[in-house]
């Protein structure tokens, strides 16, 4: 039991904007009142719901491959020292599992969504998630390049495809559907890509990326998944890709969707020399289409390691940089590439990318539609989010940063014209309430009675980055986990999963296809429920 008194409450889910109120916590949830227990005097402090990361890569084969590829970074980065009760860990570009939990909680984030899980290695992802302490977790399973699903869509078998997708979600013990470069990763098996929404995919006679976008979005809606299709558009990172992105959004045909890391999809120009920001067009689309949400995928200057299921893009990035390249092909399901990368302010393309991420956060008017993310670790590491908050809240600081960019950037970006500054209420929306609602996790990002008592308390400070980097208290499920910069407790988090309904004949349909194409036994493929550590099955509300 816990009572927090005197703090200024920022709770966008309930429209509370800085009022001084009391919060009561009982059994890990907010309560109307409470008898006894500790009282935290939060007078002069700021109280937010715990942060929610809608799009990050923290567990599974891809990030674990990135860990293997970057020992030089582990050797120089933050180290968490072993105590009698707490495991050691390393931070940096690809933190270890334990450090991932400490770092997220350390800056007040209490829920994360691992955004790219292949069914084939879902068992691995869950094992790692079980070793990430403190935070709650959700996952999205990769579907837009799965050959069985693609074959069904090619043959116009929508109903069966819907059943198969539902079957896969449950087999992976996942929470939502991720689409990465629809059709493009399948084409990468032949060393090809898919850049045109309306051209048939390599290996298919009529199926196009546009068809996949439309039908997967519809499947997610029809299954009533709490989180809509989570979409990484085709043609990521390429100059001029704004047309692909807008074309993709039109292919949603009114269905809900969450567009991942929009920063990488908002470029104009025909080549790298001509590249420019096209955020005005993209933001306008979001401003007129409330059914879609996005996260920024903002870029921060410095070292990182890029990891994505977008195999062909990673091969291109390897050719551009000449740095290490790792490639993983995941049988009939998806692929993955890993390339360490350094974003430099002196590099025109990187400078544009930096501006584009911020422009989207500032130009999309409704903070319930655009969320804080770096597409960790692709645009920068998640533990650098406070730097983005500072850039959003302080126009002067932004302008100072702009002076360090190359002169050639003039006329290619919109950022110098933007004077919007986020309020604390808007930050609380973009880092917590908004992503929680987009994920369909209504008990998160909400300080209302009955919701999960995940709270972050900051001491008010003019130095915004410092204030958001070092919360005074972080409370997870009613338990104080961070206090005065120290880790006090490392409870296990929950994992959110869904069980969408599907035709019971789906097993019979899949088994022979599976036995033809896969390298493991059908029976051994689904993740067993008893392997899940603290699962919480959330409801689906299907369209009838």
């Amino acid at each position: 039991m816990l009572r927090i008194t005197g703090g200024k409450i920022f709770d966008p889910a309930n429209g509370i904007d800085g009022e001084v109120r009391e919060l009561c916590v009982s059994d890990g949830k907010f309560a109307a009142s409470v008898d006894g227990g500790r009282t935290i005097d939060a007078a002069g402090m700021i109280v937010f719901p715990g942060g929610v990361d809608v799009h990050t890569h923290v567990a599974g084969g891809a990030i674990n491959f990135a860990r293997a590829m970057t020992p030089e970074d582990h050797r120089r980065t933050q180290a968490f020292i072993r105590s009698q009760s707490r495991r050691s860990g390393l931070g940096g570009m690809a933190p270890t599992t334990f450090a991932t939990g400490y770092l997220y909680a350390g800056m007040g984030w209490t829920t994360v969504n691992e955004a790219a899980v292949p069914v084939l290695s879902a068992r691995h992802t869950h094992e790692e998630l079980g070793d990430i302490p403190i935070v709650d977790k959700a996952t999205c399973v990769l579907m837009a390049n799965n050959e069985i699903v693609l074959d069904l869509l090619e043959n116009g078998e929508y109903e069966r495809a819907k059943n198969v997708v539902a079957w896969y979600i449950w087999a992976a013990k996942s929470y939502g559907v991720k689409a990465v470069n629809p059709g493009g990763v399948a084409a990468w098996k032949w060393g090809k890509d898919a850049k045109q929404l309306t051209s048939a995919i390599e290996g298919y006679s009529k199926l196009t990326p546009g068809d996949i976008v439309t039908q997967l979005a519809m499947i997610c809606d029809d299954l009533g998944l709490p989180h809509p299709m989570h979409l990484h558009c085709n043609n990521l990172g390429a100059p001029g890709n704004i047309s692909t992105t807008l074309d993709t959004l039109q292919h949603l045909e009114g269905h809900r969707a969450h567009i991942a890391h929009s920063q990488y999809h908002a470029y104009g120009g025909d080549d790298w020399d001509e590249m420019r920001s096209e955020t005005v067009q993209l933001a306008e689309y979001f401003n007129t289409h409330p059914n879609i949400t996005t996260d920024a995928g903002a870029v921060l200057f410095g070292d990182t390691v890029t990891i994505t299921a977008d195999g062909p893009w990673q091969h291109l990035l390897y050719k551009l940089t000449g740095r290490k390249w790792g490639n993983l092909d995941i049988e009939n399901e998806t692929g993955c590439g890993i390339v360490p990368y350094t974003y430099r302010p002196s590099n025109l393309v990187n400078a544009i990318q930096w501006a584009v991420g911020l422009e989207l956060l500032l130009l999309i008017k409704n903070p319930w539609q655009v969320f804080l993310s770096t597409d960790h670790p692709n645009g920068g590491c998640f533990w650098r989010y406070p730097e983005i908050i500072q850039l959003l809240m302080c126009a002067d600081f932004r302008n100072e940063c702009l002076t360090k960019l190359p002169d050639k950037i003039k006329g290619r970006i919109t950022l110098p014209e933007l004077d919007r500054e986020y309020t604390l209420y808007e930050i609380a929306t973009a880092m917590s309430a908004g992503p929680a609602r987009a994920l369909g996790l209504h008990q998160k990002g909400n300080l209302g009675v009955g919701c999960d008592a995940d709270i972050v308390i900051y001491e008010e400070d003019d130095d915004v980055a410092r204030m958001f980097s070092h919360p005074r208290y972080v409370i997870k499920g009613g338990e104080i986990v961070i206090e005065d910069g120290d880790i006090r407790a490392t409870p296990d988090g929950q994992e959110f999963i869904v069980k969408p309904s599907y035709d019971p004949g789906t097993d019979e349909f899949l088994q022979p296809l599976f036995e033809d194409c896969y390298t493991m036994a059908f029976e051994n493929y689904p993740v067993e429920m008893e392997r899940m550590e603290n699962p919480d099955i959330r409801d689906c509300v299907p369209n009838s």
């Binding site: 567990a59 084969g61 674990n64 860990r67 293997a68 020992p71 582990h74 050797r75 120089r76 980065t77 933050q78 180290a79 968490f80 020292i81 072993r82 105590s83 009698q84 495991r87 050691s88 860990g89 390393l90 940096g92 690809a94 933190p95 270890t96 599992t97 334990f98 400490y102 084939l120 290695s121 068992r123 691995h124 094992e127 790692e128 070793d131 050959e147 074959d151 990468w188 098996k189 032949w190 060393g191 290996g203 091969h315 390897y318 390249w325 490639n327 993983l328 092909d329 009939n332 120290d486 880790i487 033809d516 194409c517 896969y518 390298t519 493991m520 051994n524 067993e528």
Partner: protein, 280 residues
């Protein structure tokens, strides 16, 4: 071999090439066998890297490898015409003259082949769940092997913290051995050191190492009488389904009990900083 939409005839639609220093049983199972001279792997791979880029190579250099220029050209032609190529490599490459340089050369060849067609490379891992050990250590410590926690957080340096080196130097003063029998496989000076210090062995059998140890604990066999998970060499996790019930406890249970017993004793490090922001 699986049949698939793109390779409907299974094995018949695939071409397998074996490179080895002698014709083995595997050679018969392959379509083409290339006999490389012992210790000339690096040279052969480097010649292939030159040939795929249409660079000239001297006849003498090729002759030294034991493989003819004609065979090399034929191989390069087949590799470029392949829709999806995969190179598998094992200890014959990584543990002979050139060692990790050989593996690096092969990985570079696979990388460079992607300028022409899809190509990948994968190490053939040895015993059982050695891949799982790699995977687990990476997610918990950031490093795949050769780790020390002696500063309270993981650091990595093969050659310094790797077992043979530590034992031969006589650095370690107790050893906990599980799922391995170094007493049968390691160089004699390493074995001698294991016999000198308190060595603890967990194994389903009394092994060579058990015989020189202070403590041996018999455990059940992974996948036969102990449940759990093992990683295939392509890092796909598979469930283990024991057919027998063992009279012995599992490794997992015994290690946990030893760990819990140690946790009750005095902790070795004084209370201090929880975190350092940068290692120097």
């Amino acid at each position: 071999m699986p049949k698939s939409k793109f390779l409907p005839r299974g094995r018949k639609d695939r071409t397998a090439v074996l490179v080895d220093i002698r014709p083995t049983k595997s050679a018969k199972a392959c379509d083409i066998f290339l006999q490389v001279r012992p210790g000339k792997d690096f040279e052969l791979i480097t010649i292939l890297r030159a040939l795929i880029k249409d660079q000239k190579v001297s006849e003498e250099a090729v002759a030294e490898t034991g493989v003819s220029l004609e065979q090399c050209n034929d191989l390069v032609d087949r590799m470029k015409k392949a829709k999806f190529g995969c190179m598998f490599f094992g200890m014959g490459l990584s543990m002979t003259r050139g060692k990790h340089m050989n593996s690096a050369a092969l990985l570079t060849l696979a990388t460079e082949m992607n300028a022409f067609t899809k190509f990948v490379a994968m190490p053939m891992r040895g015993h059982g769940n050695v891949t799982g050990a790699d995977v687990v250590m990476r997610w918990q410590t950031g490093y795949p092997f050769g780790i020390t926690f002696n500063r309270g957080y993981p650091r990595y340096n093969p050659g310094e913290f790797s077992t043979v080196d530590v034992l031969v130097r006589g650095d370690t003063d107790a050893a906990f051995i599980i799922g391995a029998d170094p007493g049968a496989t390691m160089p004699q000076p390493a074995i001698d050191h294991l016999a000198r210090i308190p060595t603890i062995v967990l194994d389903p059998h009394i092994t060579h190492t058990s015989k020189l140890s202070r403590v041996h604990i018999t455990t059940s066999v992974a996948g036969i009488s102990a449940p759990g998970t093992a990683y295939r060499m392509d890092e796909i996790p598979l469930p283990l389904k024991p057919a027998l019930k063992s009279p012995y406890p599992t490794d997992e249970e015994v290690v946990r009990r030893i760990k819990d017993a140690i946790a009750k004793k005095r902790f070795w490090m004084p209370e201090g900083e929880q975190m350092i922001t940068a290692q120097i």
